[in-house]
């Protein structure tokens, strides 16, 4: 299942790379891509694990870039 998250206030390109890397390694995530320019995180999540993955992803983002607001688009 595809989940799209907006990371409003993401202002460091290297942090974006770190967040992307961290989220890609989360269990339940098959594919993840975070675009620094559009501040969009696109994840391919295993069915039925969406909630769990979103929570973990939020933690990863918060750890690297606490200023960015984590908003699930769809």
């Amino acid at each position: 299942m595809k989940k799209i998250v907006k990371l409003e206030g993401l202002c460091c390109a290297n942090c974006a790379a770190k967040i992307e890397d961290g989220i890609r390694k989360l269990p339940g995530v098959t594919e993840a891509s975070l675009s620094f320019m559009t501040q969009r995180l696109v994840m391919e999540v295993e069915d039925g694990r969406v909630e769990e993955v979103l929570e973990a992803a939020r933690k990863v983002a918060d750890k690297v870039e606490p200023e960015a607001e984590f908003r699930v688009v769809r």
């Binding site: 202002c11 390109a13 290297n14 790379a17 675009s35 320019m37 559009t38 969009r40 690297v64 606490p66």
Partner: protein, 634 residues
């Protein structure tokens, strides 16, 4: 400028004034250090705090920590002035990054400002403003002048002109009237339109385009992945080197202050953000420049692929040609002595149109269109059709019924008609005879797009080595078109499966490191589009299968846009390469000079902030593409 940025400007101005005061009074006042300290705090009081917070969360090598360590180190060895300068310029650089990135985001968002906020739904004759998501198929909506068309549909009432610039890059407004289809995302310019919705918002053109554009930067280019991988190893290595530099040499040589100062310079240069930011920024600009030309790319990786196009394979019908049949030649067998040739042509066309008046075959339709006048059915008798050969009928002519035959050469032979002259041009030929006498022939062909020749010439100039046409049409017809537009090779009589095989064959013969693009109109092309390195779909609007399968969508029906795409892609890739070489080069140089003691911390500040600003300014050029200079000011 955002509020945050404005606040930073004030902080940095204060810091700069304090720094100037500090430098001015240095050595003449016992409290000069206080001015430096205040300057430092004004510029970067939050940086050590952020560093502490991030370390507590397990993030060590971030730029806050590096800057804190570098400046604290400098302060410890008494280089107060440098410590303040590092912090001030670091923050200045960050502010500039932030501003530049924000500007680019904005200008691209404005470019793609096609998202309709609402729809005027007509419910029981009353109009109601609703979210486009709520509108169902077959609902009626009202679109007033100045509003965006929210959903795809067909005009049921009214006429107007539509601005489709954001969708197609086409600057001429398109006129629409009752019965015409309207595309969501275009802007209604003049009249009020009542439209019957044909697709849900999610399936509408505008939603498809937005989805494509927004996801485009998720598919990253090789250069982007390279730079993030590089940053991941670069920072730790430089930090380790800094530690070694601060500790090992002074153990043998003494002079701790000098070595710690040099190590601090290392830390300043070790920040990776400058390097990392300019690459996605360039690609983002390139994607934006392309979409302004009506070229949508599904990812930065395709910009790289387009920049390296070596072989371009075209589908014929609907791509190089319009896909519409037209009468291209009318050749009467004889023009009466002293008679008007135009009259003879018209007579021939009229006979053919009469014979074809009851058929809906595309060829019949094109013949009637060429005549351009209605035929009274009362003048045409019973029609007899021989499949694949032609038709026979009778036409009332000057008060008597004449027998008219229109069809292939075989039909004429069967009827024993002589004097047939085969035409020079290729295409479908239709011969006509009346009362056993040969009248002449018509050539009907799919017309070549006006833009095609220019496209081929421009691609050739851009260095595309091989251009090939694949068609399901007859070999000779294909050859003729290929020759006329200037392609290198053509292969005819291919089924969709054969096209895939042919493309695979061509993929093997392309030059090393280069790419192959396939251009099609999307009908039956999906497998080939996905097999090519770059699948290019033309006339993207309305052809969903093509938009799904392709990597690049040309919204207009101009094949010459491929050359524009190559130019934009090459420029972008060039900028990225310049930035990577320049940034890494300067950083390495500064590191070497700093280790040897030839570069001060000021040089390190240039190696960090200066490089970052220059790289970003360079990256922002990617957004500009020659044709629209007036819109490109940032």
């Amino acid at each position: 400028m955002t509020k945050k940025q404005k606040k930073m400007v004030i902080r940095l101005t204060a810091s700069a004034l304090l720094l100037a005061g500090g430098i001015g009074t240095e050595g003449r006042w016992s409290l000069d250090w206080l001015l430096f300290l205040l300057s430092y705090l004004a510029a970067g009081y939050d940086i050590p705090l952020k560093a502490a917070r991030n370390i507590s969360k397990g993030q060590v090598f971030d730029e806050n920590f590096l800057m804190t360590a570098a400046t604290f180190g400098a302060i410890a060895v008494g280089a107060l002035e440098e410590a303040v300068a590092v912090m001030l310029f670091y923050q200045l650089g960050e502010l500039f990054n932030d501003y530049a990135v924000g500007k680019s985001r904005q200008s691209i968002a404005a470019l793609m400002d096609i998202n309709p906020e609402y729809a005027n739904l007509l419910r029981d004759g009353k109009e109601e403003q609703v979210d486009p998501y709520e509108v169902e198929v077959d609902d009626l909506i009202l679109i007033k002048p100045g509003e965006k068309v929210p959903l795809d549909g067909v005009v049921t009432k009214g006429s107007s002109s539509l601005d489709t610039k954001a969708l197609t890059g086409e600057t001429m407004p398109a006129d629409v009237k009752e019965g015409d289809a309207v595309v969501s995302g275009s802007i209604n310019l003049t009249g009020v339109l009542e439209v019957r919705v044909s697709r849900l918002f999610d399936d509408s053109t505008v939603a498809k385009i937005l989805e494509l554009v927004e996801n485009a930067s998720s598919r990253k280019a090789k250069a982007e992945n390279f730079i993030t991988r590089f940053a991941r190893v670069y920072t730790p290595i430089v930090v380790i080197l800094a530690v070694i530099l601060a500790v090992i040499p002074p153990l043998f040589l003494g002079n701790w202050g000098v070595w710690i100062y040099r190590a601090c310079s290392f830390l300043v240069v070790s920040c990776p953000c400058a390097l990392v930011i300019s690459v996605p920024l360039s690609f983002f600009g390139g994607l934006g420049a392309a979409s302004r030309e009506g070229i949508l790319l599904k990812g930065s990786n395709y910009l790289e692929a387009v920049a390296a196009l070596d072989t371009v394979v075209f589908d014929k019908t609907g791509t190089l040609t319009t896909g519409k049949f037209q009468v291209t030649e009318v050749c009467p067998a004889e023009v009466p002595e002293g008679g008007d040739r135009r009259q003879a042509e018209h007579e021939l066309l009229r006979m053919a149109a009469c014979a074809e008046s009851r058929s809906n075959h595309p060829i019949a339709v094109s013949v009637r269109e060429a005549l351009g006048e209605e035929i009274d059915p009362a003048f045409v008798g019973e029609m007899q059709e021989t499949a694949g050969k032609g038709v026979r009928t009778s036409v009332l002519q000057g008060g008597r019924w004449t027998s008219v035959c229109v069809g292939s050469e075989r039909l004429m032979e069967e009827l024993g008609i002589t004097g047939i002259k085969a035409p020079q041009r290729t295409g479908t030929t239709l011969f006509a005879a009346r009362d056993g006498r040969y009248l002449g022939y018509l050539v009907i062909s799919d017309t070549i797009r006006q833009d095609t020749k220019k496209a081929v010439a421009e691609l050739r100039k851009a260095g595309v080595r091989r251009m090939v046409m694949l068609t399901g049409d007859r070999e000779e017809t294909g050859k003729a078109v290929a020759e006329e537009v200037g392609l290198d090779e053509s292969y005819g009589g291919l089924l969709p499966g054969d096209k895939v095989a042919k493309v695979e064959e061509l993929l093997e013969t392309k030059r090393e490191g280069m790419t192959l693009g396939f251009v099609g109109d999307g009908i039956n092309d999906a497998p080939v589009l996905s097999r090519a390195d770059v699948g290019i779909a033309m006339g993207g609007i309305g052809s969903d299968a093509a938009v799904e399968a392709a990597d690049m969508v040309i919204m207009t029906d101009e094949p010459s846009k491929i050359a524009d795409a190559i130019a934009i892609a090459r420029k972008t890739v060039g900028i990225v390469r310049q930035n990577i070489v320049f940034a890494i080069g300067v950083k390495l140089l500064v590191l070497i000079l700093a280790a040897a003691g030839y570069a001060s911390m000021w040089a390190a500040v240039f190696g960090d902030v200066g490089v970052s600003v220059l790289a970003i300014l360079n990256a922002m050029r990617a957004l500009r593409y020659g044709k629209h200079p007036e819109k490109d000011r940032i």
